[in-house]
Every structure is written in C-alpha cells, then in structure tokens.
Symmetry: C2
DNA sequence: GCCATTTCTTGCCTTATGGCAAGCCGACCA
DNA sequence: TGGTCGGCTTGCCATAAGGCAAGAAATGGC
C-alpha cells in the first residue's frame, strides 16, 4: 500500500534506515484543484504521491499556462531549486485529482540525508535520473513530431491520458489543444 | 588562471578542502575534433573546461546529429547518468576548438564527495542548478519562437555564436541551418 | 596560390502547427 | 426539463519552419 517503499529504492539503504526515512514522512491529502506549491512560495518539503495525479505548470509571458510535468503514483512532487536553494518557486503544483501523499519537511530530510550514506546516494541517483528524463524530453521536443511525442506519452504514461484534460497534455507536448485534437483524429483514422 | 577556482564555488568549502579537491584533478588538453566521450563508452571521469568549447550531441533515428549542449570555460563536461550509474553513454562529447581541461577520475571524486561535507553540498547544488537550466531550456523550446531562442543564446552565451558553426547552433535551437540562416537575415534587416 | 571541403545563404514549394470562432456533447445543477 | 459550463472537435485561413538543390563565401591543407 504505502508507496514510500517504491519511492525509496536503493541497494545501499538498509531496512532500519528505510524505517527511519519512512518515519520522517507525514500523510497528507489534497482535493482536486488544491495547490501543493504556488509561484512565489519557498518550498520547505516535498511530496511522495501515493494516489492521484499532480500537474506542474508555469505561465509564459503571454499569460498562457504551460504544463511542465505530470507527477503520478510513486513519483515525487518537488521543486528542487526552490527547496534546496531556498528561493521562491516560479512553478505551480496543482492536484488534477484527489491525491494521497506522504510529505517530508526539509529539516528532517537534511538530518537523514547527512547521516545515512545510502540516502545520500539515493538522492544523487534520483537527481541524475531526473536530469536524464528531462534531457530525453528536451531531445524529443527537438527531434520528434507532435504526433510522435503524443504516442510516446500514450505508451509510457497511459494513466496521464486518462486523468488529465487534453488541454494540459497539449501544452505539455508543446502544441495547442486544437492541434492535439487533430492529431488524435488522424491517429484514429490511421488505425 | 585555473578555472577550478571558479568551478568549485560553495560557501561550505574551506580553503584546505578546496586544495584537496584541486589536487585530485589532472590537466588534460584536447585538439579540435577530439572526443572526450563517445556513445557506448562508460564515463569514468569528468572535465572542467579552462579554455575552449565542447559540444555534446546525439544522433536521432534518421541519422541527424542533434546538439544537446555547449560546454564552455568554467563549465563542466559530464554525462551524469553514465558516470554515476556506470552505464554506457548515448551522447558524444567533442571539442569544437582546442581545449584545456582539468579532469578528475570517478574514484577520486567519490572519496572526496563522501569525506567533505561541503563537496557533497556543492554536488547537490550543481545538480539542482543543472536541472533548473535544462528545465528553462525545455520551457523555452515550447513557449519561444526560434528567433527568440536564438536571441537569448546570443545574449547569454555570445562566445558560443563566435566559436560554433551555425549548423550546430541550429540543431541546438531545434531548427535547421537553413531556417537559422533566414532568421539571422531577418534579425539583421530589422536593426 | 590553388584546390577541396565546409559553412552559409537563397529560391521555390510543401507541410506542420497556430489563431480564432463556432458548434457539439456530456456533466452537473436548480 | 432546461440552462450553463468545461472539454473537445472542426473549418477557414495565416504563419513558421522544413526539404531540396544551387551557389557563394570562408577555411584548411599542401
């Protein structure tokens, strides 16, 4: 049940260390539409998602909101820069559905991060994995067509398509909802 | 002169710790065209650039090479995933000009990383900064026109424009060299 | 200095995506 | 039952960028 077991996977983390990490979290629920973090706030915790779907987004200077990511089950909703540099975030994190989370405060994280070597390694692995995913996405934005990006999302994160309105998926893919609608029609016609 | 002083900036790093870190590096030069890392290799070190310009790139499945980044003076040429997860890289890192670097091996890095708390913090700060930069770039690919992306590069990294052929800049911006050429003409005409 | 190669520009036409506005449809609600 | 609202689709036209191929300009080797 608890997705913390799935989040904190690392060969160097021993059972008693894991227990200490789990114990530093508190359960927290959000309703559809609630904000986990809003532009201008300084993050002081991060959230492990057990149920539900979160959307992160920014406004561009024309006032359009741009979806920067979706965070689902067993993933972490975190603004790395705001939390670790203690600066105001520029992103919004909002629940797209009712959500169950486990939240951990920065100060409790820091203590564990510095005292448990495996937790430190886990953190580095998590960050490098995030960098990798983001780089993949950036490359896809350059090399793939919008239709290909949509199909990849469909393949790799089908639950997002079921839980998120198309307009958010469109802005995540870098296109308008109009274009996404046409792309979907075309893909259906082809099959 | 030594750019290591500029690379390893962190409030928690004390002078003697910095000396230990510097001492773990070796000078290394590359000639224009040399590869620092090639697809399929497993990274076992990273490079602090003192002089010159590096390009990282991948091939898409049509065989086009796509520039994923430029690494210049006082920046670090590293494949985080390959180095820290010890898996083969998918990227190429190639010197666009003759380069002077300081290289540090993974094993020496690990020892310092685990024994110097400030170095650990520096590493986390460096990674979160990299994530931030990459996220900015991804958002720019979605929200900005090619001309705007070009102008931003011109503003923030003018030396890249002087040292890198336009075809590489074009693929970094997500367009063809043909389109970049037309964009440049239009921008000149406007001013 | 000369040739070969790479880099950059340009013209012509095609294609992908956007902007806007109208319409449709299902959900929710009084 | 009718009304409103959000989410999605569609049509019409505009624009950004690409594909290809030719040529001009710059660079590098010898």
């Amino acid at each position: 049940m608890s997705s913390l077991r799935d989040v904190y996977q690392h060969p160097l983390l021993k059972p008693d260390e894991l227990e200490a990490i789990y114990a530093a979290h508190e359960p927290l629920s959000f309703q559809k539409g609630d904000f986990l973090l809003k532009k201008g706030q300084v993050a002081n915790s991060y959230f492990c998602i057990e149920e539900g779907l979160i959307r992160s987004y920014v406004y561009d200077y024309d006032g359009n909101d741009i979806t920067t990511g979706f965070i689902g089950k067993n993933e972490i909703a975190i603004d790395v820069v705001s939390l670790f540099h203690q600066v105001p975030t520029v992103e919004y994190f909002q629940a797209l559905t009712d959500c169950k989370c486990q939240v951990i405060a920065l100060d409790r994280f820091q203590v564990l991060y510095h005292s448990i070597k495996g937790f430190n390694e886990w953190g580095r692995a998590w960050m490098s994995e995030s960098l990798f995913q983001l780089k993949q996405r950036t490359i896809a934005m350059i090399t793939d067509s919008a239709a290909e990006r949509y199909q990849r999302l469909q393949r790799q994160h089908p639950q997002i398509l079921q839980q998120a309105p198309l307009k958010f998926i469109a802005s995540y893919l870098g296109i308008t909802d109009t274009s996404l609608s046409r792309i979907r029609k075309e893909l259906v016609r082809e099959s």
